[in-house]
């Protein structure tokens, strides 16, 4: 059993299902920690918002997040702090241990298309009513176009920071207004006097702050040997001025500053990190999850690459890492620290818990708790069977439920002791009996003080055939095979399919055989030898020969006759 306090995200494997409902592979969904909206926070009098060591990222303690007392810390500040901490940690790590994580601020407003109110106005960032009577949209797509028009007059360009991008979700059910830089989005006009929304998005008016997101980095590797500094280069649609760069080493700081023009400015997060691999054979550019790197300009007319990196023009997104992200609490940390970053604190307990859990909260401020558990149904049954309970009547009407499972001390496997925890103390209800964790216990007669009953797993009940009956019932179960078929039906279906295929193959064979026969026949008609025909030819030639011979003979006789004339 392991316990982790904090917040974590693990990469998960997602099955790829085709239209027929069959699994055709798996896809890795990278780990992502997305906090709630980050309200700017005032730096307290001691100048420290997050104490040094209060937070631990993937096992590395983070230094303090501090500032001038009275200043406000924004989401971008927090993300910058996290990124600088990651950078600091990475500087002390070997290549293998480097944290492949990046913090960034994301901000988007998601509303259901069904909740849009086209008769209402809309203001974004106090831009004045986007919607007025002259351009009132009638569909979500029109609203999307309207927002994009206002914020991106030169459409098609990568939106500079501070802009807004609107789009519809893949299923068309949601309208999303995103702030690419993560800066705050202000939605207006104000709510009416009753507090009802007065804008076209149908949401409460106000300032929506960005969220801090921790995602694994994707890194795209470019081969240094292919780099040709004589050519031009565009990255993410931005032309890079390569004049004055003669070596790849010079290229790195140039790209770093060109791609991240706003380093140091709090409002714009770092978008790309550029570095050379340690053997200087690869140029590595990070691509935060979900944003591929665009390389240009367009390929030469013959299709060959025409940019300085020597790569075909297009989008490149790196390998998804299997990195997990664990943001835990250190010794001076408590859940309030994590909640400042927009994360709620979790306690993850992996493995079987042999006892009941009790959550005890101390302190003054309010907190909310939820408990989730993923358990295997069979395991819970099994674990119940492994436990031993005692029901002890402390009076005629009251009983105690005692867990008397013998537990093994992990330190000394021989040291067995009885648990003895009183898990419940209740009044006995003769009608309902005693219920505990799915167990039911009833007494046919009234209990008396001092009565004791022991409940233990029935390990010797080997004559019980209920499992076998369940196995036998699998024969007619329709839950095993997709498409609600029984095993036999599926099997028969397979045989049917095989039979059909066999039959089709036979028919195809017959048809092809006829084609083949005709071809052979046609060929033999031309090239084949018929003995009768040859014999007839032979006779004909023989006769022709004989006829010729006869002519020669006749001629000879004629000559003879002529020669004999004297």
């Amino acid at each position: 059993m392991s316990v982790f306090r904090g917040v974590r995200s693990l990469p998960s494997e997602v099955d790829i299902i085709n239209d027929a409902g069959r699994k055709i592979g798996t896809e890795i969904k990278p780990a992502t920690l997305l906090g709630s909206r980050f309200e700017p926070q005032e730096v307290p009098a001691d100048g420290v918002l997050v104490k040094s060591g209060a937070l631990v990222l993937n096992g590395h303690a983070l230094h303090a997040l501090d500032g001038t007392p009275g200043d406000f810390v924004s989401a971008a500040d927090a993300a910058n702090w996290l990124n600088s901490e990651i950078k600091r940690i990475n500087q002390n790590q070997g290549l293998e241990q480097k944290l492949g994580i990046e913090a960034r601020v994301v901000n988007e407003v998601r509303v259901k298309v069904s909740g849009l109110k086209f008769d209402k106005d809309l203001e974004i960032d106090g831009s004045g009513p986007l919607i007025n009577d002259s351009n009132r949209p009638s569909s979500a797509a029109e609203l999307v176009a309207l927002i994009n028009d206002v914020f991106n007059p030169e459409s098609g360009l990568y939106p500079p920071a501070g802009q807004r991008v609107a789009y519809l979700s893949d299923d068309g059910q949601e309208l999303i207004v995103a702030s690419p830089s993560g800066s705050t989005i202000q939605i207006g006009p104000d709510n009416d006097l009753l507090g009802n929304s007065g804008n076209a998005l149908g949401i409460s008016a106000g300032i929506l702050h960005g969220r801090v997101e921790l995602t694994p980095l994707r890194e795209v590797a470019f081969d240094v040997s292919r780099i040709d500094l004589g050519k031009t280069l565009e990255i993410d649609g931005q032309a890079i001025d390569l004049s004055g760069v003669s070596t790849v080493r010079d290229l790195v700081p140039l790209l770093q500053s060109a791609l991240n023009p706003a380093i140091g400015q709090p409002d714009i997060p770092v978008r790309r990190y550029v570095r050379l691999s340690s053997d200087e054979r690869q140029l590595l550019i990070t691509s935060p999850a979900g944003s591929p790197i665009q390389i240009g300009p367009q390929d030469a007319p013959d299709g060959s690459a025409d940019n300085a990196l020597g790569m075909d023009a297009g989008e490149y997104s790196g390998e998804v890492t299997r990195a997990e992200i664990l943001l835990g609490l250190g010794a001076p940390g408590d859940p309030s620290v994590l909640s400042r970053l927009g994360y709620s604190t979790h306690v993850y307990i992996d493995g079987q818990i042999p006892e009941d859990l009790i959550v005890v909260a101390t302190g003054k401020s309010t907190a909310s708790f939820t408990v989730n558990q993923t358990t295997d149904a069979i395991d819970s049954l099994q674990s119940l069977r492994d436990r031993k309970f005692q029901i002890k009547f402390t009076s005629d009407a009251e009983y105690e439920l005692i867990d008397i499972t013998r537990v093994t001390d992990p330190a000394d496997s021989l040291d067995l002791e009885t648990n003895g925890t009183v898990v419940a103390k209740r009044l006995y209800n003769a009608v309902q009996g005693i219920h505990f964790q799915g167990m039911h216990f009833s007494l046919s007669r009234l209990p008396a003080k001092g009565d004791t009953y022991t409940i233990d797993g029935n390990r010797d009940g080997i004559g019980d055939n209920s499992n076998i009956l369940k196995l036998a019932a699998l024969e007619t179960s329709r839950d095993l095979i997709p498409g609600a078929l029984t095993i036999a039906e599926s099997w028969h279906g397979q045989i049917n399919e095989m039979g059909n295929l066999g039959n089709q193959a036979r028919i195809a064979q017959e048809a092809l055989k006829i084609v083949n026969e005709q071809a052979v026949e046609a060929r033999d008609k031309v090239s084949g030898v018929s003995l009768d025909e040859e014999a007839a030819d032979l006779v004909r030639f023989q006769q022709a020969y004989q006829a010729s011979a006869r002519i020669i003979q006749s001629a000879n006789q004629l000559f003879d006759a002529i020669l004999q004339v004297r």
Binding site: R445, I462, N465, A472, A473, E475, G502, D524
Partner: protein, 310 residues
């Protein structure tokens, strides 16, 4: 059109081998006795056939289960009947002993006999079936259900599991009854007029108490014992009738399953069995065709222009 010599031979061989193939198919059908030798012959029907065949197999299994269930229930019935006989005999003896004309030595003889009978009853309660499993121990079939504990009292070590066996597509038959249901505790009036709810006492303890009462000539306790014997008898009768019902159900279910199977088999036979008359005729026809092909080939291939050229 010219037919070359090799083409003539090829074609003749091809035609004859086709005849051979269809002949061998009929032959396979005749040997198998079935219309469909492999699924590709008639894919749709082959699927249906397999379905019916697996249904027939399932009915076979139900019949096997019924036979086993009947054996088991028969064994239980025998034990229950013997137990009932024993209890009747104990009751007779108790009635005799309660006669005032019997003196201590007479009663001792009776007590000894009842002791022997309760031993007998204990061995019946621990009876096993043909597989060596205890009949009245619930699912704990390897544990002697009624055994003496350290205090010398007979306690039940089985559980209350009632297991069932599938004897039809939607029919399960009850196979056992637990030890408590048959040889479990017997009600005994508490003797306390205030408390209405009666006490209970183990069946074997009740018999022990009875022999003690007979030995000491305690008529009150003897009549209490008679009441308890009545209740034991009632319970035996109840269980016997339950087993009887189960056996009757098993018989009826056997008839139902057999009927179903007969019907399924006739469907199966209609679907899969070969019509021999038709198949034999077909074979005759194909043999004739093959023979004609062979004979005509023999004759035609003889024809050769060279024969006529000298």
């Amino acid at each position: 059109m010219k037919i070359s010599t090799s083409q003539f031979f090829d074609r003749a061989v091809g035609q004859m081998s086709e005849r051979q193939i269809s002949l061998s198919k009929v032959q396979a059908q005749l040997a198998d006795g079935k219309k469909i030798v492999k699924p590709s012959d008639e894919p749709d029907r082959a699927g249906a056939l397999l379905r019916i065949r697996s249904m027939v197999d399932r009915q076979d299994r139900h019949l096997d289960a019924l036979v086993a269930a009947k054996n088991r229930l028969g064994a239980e019935e025998a034990v229950l009947k013997n137990s009932a006989d024993l209890i009747t005999r104990i009751k007779e003896l108790t009635l005799t002993a309660s006669n005032d004309t019997y003196d201590a030595s007479n009663r001792e003889v009776i007590a000894i006999e009842i002791d022997g009978m309760s031993e007998q009853l204990l061995s019946l309660a621990n009876a096993r079936d043909t597989q060596g499993n205890y009949l009245f121990g619930g699912a704990r079939v390897r544990e002697t259900p009624f055994q003496k504990n350290s205090e010398g009292r007979i306690v039940y070590a089985g559980d209350e599991t009632r297991y069932k066996v599938a004897v039809g597509d939607h029919r399960e038959l009850n196979l056992n009854r637990s030890g408590t249901e048959v040889f479990g505790p017997i009600e005994r009036p508490s003797g306390n007029p205030v408390v209405e709810t009666p006490d209970s006492v183990s069946l074997f303890e009740a018999l022990q108490d009875l022999t003690v009462a007979i030995r000491s000539g305690d008529h009150d306790k003897m009549s209490r014992g008679l009441g308890e014997l009545d209740r034991m008898m009632n319970r035996m009768t109840f269980n016997i009738s339950e087993v009887g019902t189960d056996l009757h159900v098993a018989d009826m279910q056997t008839a139902i399953v057999e009927e179903t199977q007969l019907q399924l088999k006739s469907v199966l036979s209609n679907e899969q069995d070969l019509d021999y008359a038709e198949a034999v005729t077909r074979m005759q026809k194909q043999m004739l065709a093959l023979e004609a092909a062979q004979r005509s080939f023999g004759q035609i291939s003889q024809l050769n222009l060279f024969d006529y050229i000298n």
